[in-house]
């Protein structure tokens, strides 16, 4: 099954996972690339996206698996056809055959921008770095069965902070993205819970890259 590596940026970050699936299904049709369909009662085009992305999060490493019907076409033709049929902000970077099994996906790199409207508070960087160096850090996680406590530390592979400008502090982290999964927004939740004085006015998150268990880039 071929796989597409794509990015989701700009206003496209507000397209939800289900809507994005629909967008791709229509884009394949618009590009004249017919998808195979499932054989159920309601046949559905076969597209699937690994690691559903929350609304509002940017990504440069999304993976879409799909299955084409009809004549074979080259990966480059698929990529270019899709890019003409997609919307601004959703861009296919490459298409290739035989991607790795999704179950081998283990980590992802993300960047979180912490925005302080009055400027980065003094000591914020060191305090936050220290916070994530603790042996254990629990925050509440909302789930279907009510709220549970989640310890973030075992799911953080590495983490560093960088000052982007006077107002913006960036967290660069490599976290578990599958079994278990750490939603990067939990890192901000931890700051708000344990260091309320360094809680940012606004934060946003971006996925940068995905890795397998050996921390090799996952494709």
């Amino acid at each position: 099954m071929p796989r597409a590596l794509f990015q989701k940026t700009g206003n496209a970050v507000y397209i939800s996972h289900l809507d994005l699936m629909r967008l791709f299904q229509r884009s394949f049709k618009r590009a004249g690339l017919p998808l195979t369909h499932t054989h159920g009662f309601n046949p559905r085009p076969s597209v699937s996206i690994a690691l559903p992305l929350s609304v509002g999060i940017e990504s440069h490493c999304e993976l879409l698996d799909f299955d084409l019907d009809g004549e074979a076409v080259t990966c480059d033709i698929i990529r270019d056809g899709l890019n003409r049929a997609l919307v601004e902000g959703v861009k296919v970077l490459s298409v290739y055959e035989d991607g790795a099994k999704i179950k081998h996906l283990a980590y992802l790199d993300c960047r979180i921008d912490l925005e302080y409207d009055a400027g980065i508070p003094e000591h914020a960087q060191s305090a936050i770095t220290e916070l994530f160096s603790k042996p254990s850090l629990t925050v509440e996680k909302k789930s279907k069965n009510g709220n549970t406590e989640q310890d973030l530390i075992p799911m953080i592979r590495s983490l560093r902070l960088e000052k982007q400008d006077e107002y913006t502090l960036c967290i660069f982290a490599r976290v578990c993205c599958q079994n278990p999964t750490l939603n990067p927004s939990q890192l901000v939740a931890a700051i708000t819970k344990y260091l309320p004085e360094y809680s940012p006015n606004f934060s946003k998150c971006c996925r940068l890259e995905v890795f397998d268990h050996q921390e090799n880039v996952f494709r």
Binding site: N11, Y14, Q25, K29, G32, A85, V87, F202
Partner: protein, 611 residues
């Protein structure tokens, strides 16, 4: 630093409806644009983007050189709260420019209960609500859509109305504005010139005078305005503009599929139906043109579903030819073809089975009334035998789901008619028991009753609406006669339909009521989450207006009606004749069988009525 709007978007529900950027969205170079039109739909994005009229006119206006038409929708409550908190004015999706900076502000108004949204959107845009407060040529506000057929409740707020189909008149209006702007006309000068375009109604050119009993004494045209304004129509639909490159939303909308209009007008003449009369005369599109447009639309949009739409699709003469060509195309391309608005009396079992090969859709009937007598009164030419035969065919074909729609409070309705609904439903259940081939999953009969709202330009435009208490009594009476557990009965609450009745036949004295209700927070009235009857009730009270005057009172046949200035092509003589026939329980054959002389054919010059 992230800009304000980007900080707000992640905090609201379904943010994708506020960002634009969809496939086929039209972006123009502002340097080349002379006239900016903000095309406002007074409801949410999901509703507005499902509106075919808006899609057509968006295309029409953007085809004009130097004109950029952009979309604006009503924000959901959470977004509105954020906008008000941060003083963010309402913006258009394409350029994100505030609506206040646009030359023309257009509204398409299809439902009385969105009047509050029109005012609220103007308010969110920072534009004065009253036409009289907007003195310049900029921000001129105009409106069209079916509610423009009785525009009087909105007369204080809208500078002019465009009546009927807008494919041609909108081009004339916008082009005139282009000239007016270049030549620095005043608003008065523009309104005077635009009123000369056929189909344009300027409410400030008419003075409404009332009698002591509150009814209209006279409508006086001033400035030499015409006594009546006749709606516009497109004569040749094959040659009319049709957008095959339509915007494909990136988020789910209510009608998330391609939509192809097969003809306009209706041959049926159901006496309660406003569209059935006001959309006349009947004009068809040829199957050839439709097939070509269907394929173009599907290939361009990538949709996996297409709907053939019209007021009564089984009355489209070319239906067989069109579906015979479309079904193979749709099957080959995994496209679901849906054909709603099929009539029970000539519902083709063959077509039903053919469509089923793509996907099985439901079976819906709208008998509207429970007894033959009352169906004759409303001229719903659908017999019990026809309903039961079609049900029998459907059940033996494997269908186990039926939806039946009725109205309560129709003229001359008695308890016998109400109970007739229960009897009809019982017979449908019996038919299923006898004919169903697949009984494993059981039968579901969904029954819904609506509260009859008399509408302008129909033979029932003079009728009384029954009181909400009486409506509820009839609902309960009906409910007490549904024993079978396969029946699911829903009835609309009376409050919304009562307000709808007030505004449908309302006059200019309702303007302050709308303004007052909006001031008190009325908005998104079509949504259960927001509809608040008390706000409206208080507004009527504050303005000293009795809603009953417009509902349970009924209108006298000799009375001057608020919408008498508006000519939709149907003569009052015809409407009176139809009303008389209703009370005599006499049906009027459909227009194809024999022309009933409604008058709409007079609107045609090039072609004849295709009933």
């Amino acid at each position: 630093m992230t800009e304000l709007i980007q900080r707000i978007l992640p905090t609201v529900q379904k943010p994708a409806r506020y960002t634009g950027g969809e496939y086929n969205e039209i972006i123009k170079d502002p340097a080349q644009v002379r006239v900016q039109v903000a095309f406002c739909f007074p409801d949410t994005y999901e509703i507005g983007m499902s509106n075919l009229g808006m899609r057509i006119l968006y295309g029409v206006m953007n085809e004009i050189d130097g004109v950029w038409c952009q979309r604006v929708f009503a924000p959901w409550g959470d977004m509105e709260a954020a906008m008000r908190l941060h003083n963010l004015p309402l913006w258009a999706l394409e350029s994100k420019q505030p609506v206040k900076e646009f030359d023309m502000i257009a509204f398409t108004v299809g439902y009385e209960m969105c009047y509050s949204n029109i005012l609220n959107m103007l308010d969110l845009a920072g534009i004065p609500l009253l036409s009289s407060q907007r003195t310049g040529l900029k921000n001129i506000v105009f409106a069209g859509g079916v509610c423009a057929f009785n525009p009087e409740p909105l007369a204080d707020f809208i500078d002019f109305f465009s009546l009927g189909e807008g494919e041609e008149s909108t081009v004339e209006i916008v082009s005139l504005y282009d000239r007016a702007k270049a030549e620095n006309w005043t608003k008065e000068q523009f309104l005077w010139e635009v009123s000369k375009i056929p189909g344009v109604y300027v409410p400030s050119f008419y003075r409404h005078e009332y009698k002591e009993d509150g009814t209209l004494a006279e409508i006086v045209p001033v400035n030499g305005a015409p006594k009546t304004v006749t709606k516009r129509i497109v004569e040749n639909l094959d040659k009319a503009y049709w957008p095959t490159k339509m915007i494909v939303p990136s988020t789910e909308i209510v009608h998330d599929r391609a939509n192809l209009e097969v003809f306009r007008g209706c041959i049926r003449g159901c006496r309660f139906c406003q569209a059935g009369f006001s959309c006349r005369p009947v004009r068809k599109k040829s199957p050839d043109v439709l097939y070509r447009q269907a394929v173009e639309t599907m290939e361009d949009s990538g949709n996996n579903e297409i709907t053939l739409s019209s007021l009564s699709t089984s009355d489209y003469r070319g239906l067989k030819e069109l579906t015979d060509r479309m079904i193979p195309y749709c099957e080959a391309n995994h496209i679901n073809l849906s054909v709603p608005s099929l009539r029970a009396d000539n519902f083709s079992v063959e077509l039903m089975h053919k469509l089923q090969t793509v996907r099985k859709s439901g079976l819906t009937f709208a008998p509207e009334a429970g007894t033959q007598r009352l169906r004759d009164v409303i001229n719903k030419n659908l017999t019990e035998a026809e309903i039961l035969t079609t049900c029998a065919n459907a059940f033996s074909g494997g269908w186990n789901n039926v939806k039946l729609y009725f109205m309560l409070g129709l003229p001359t309705e008695t308890d016998e008619d109400v109970l007739g609904i229960a009897e009809l439903v019982y017979k449908v259940i019996q038919t299923w028991k006898e004919k169903a081939t697949n009984k494993k999953r059981g039968l579901r009969v969904h029954v819904a009753t609506a509260y009859f709202v008399p509408k302008p330009h129909t033979p029932f435009q003079w009728e009384k609406q029954i009181t909400p208490e009486e409506y509820l009594r009839r609902c309960r009476l009906l409910k007490s006669h549904f024993y079978a557990k396969s029946i699911e009965y829903n009835y609309h609450g009376p409050d919304l339909s009562r307000l709808e009745a007030v505004f449908a036949r309302g006059d200019r004295r309702l303007g302050p009521v709308i303004a007052e209700a909006v001031k008190n927070g009325a908005r998104l009235d079509g949504w259960d989450e927001y509809f608040n009857y008390a706000k409206w009730f208080d507004a009527f009270e504050a303005c000293g207006i009795d809603p009953d005057f417009y509902t349970v009172r009924g209108y006298d046949e000799k009375e001057v009606l608020p919408w008498d200035t508006i000519d939709v092509g149907i003569s009052k003589k015809f409407l009176l004749r139809e009303r008389k026939r209703a009370y005599e329980e006499v049906i009027t054959p459909d227009c194809r069988e024999s022309c009933a002389g409604c008058g709409a054919a007079c609107l045609l010059k090039e072609v004849s009525c295709d009933a």
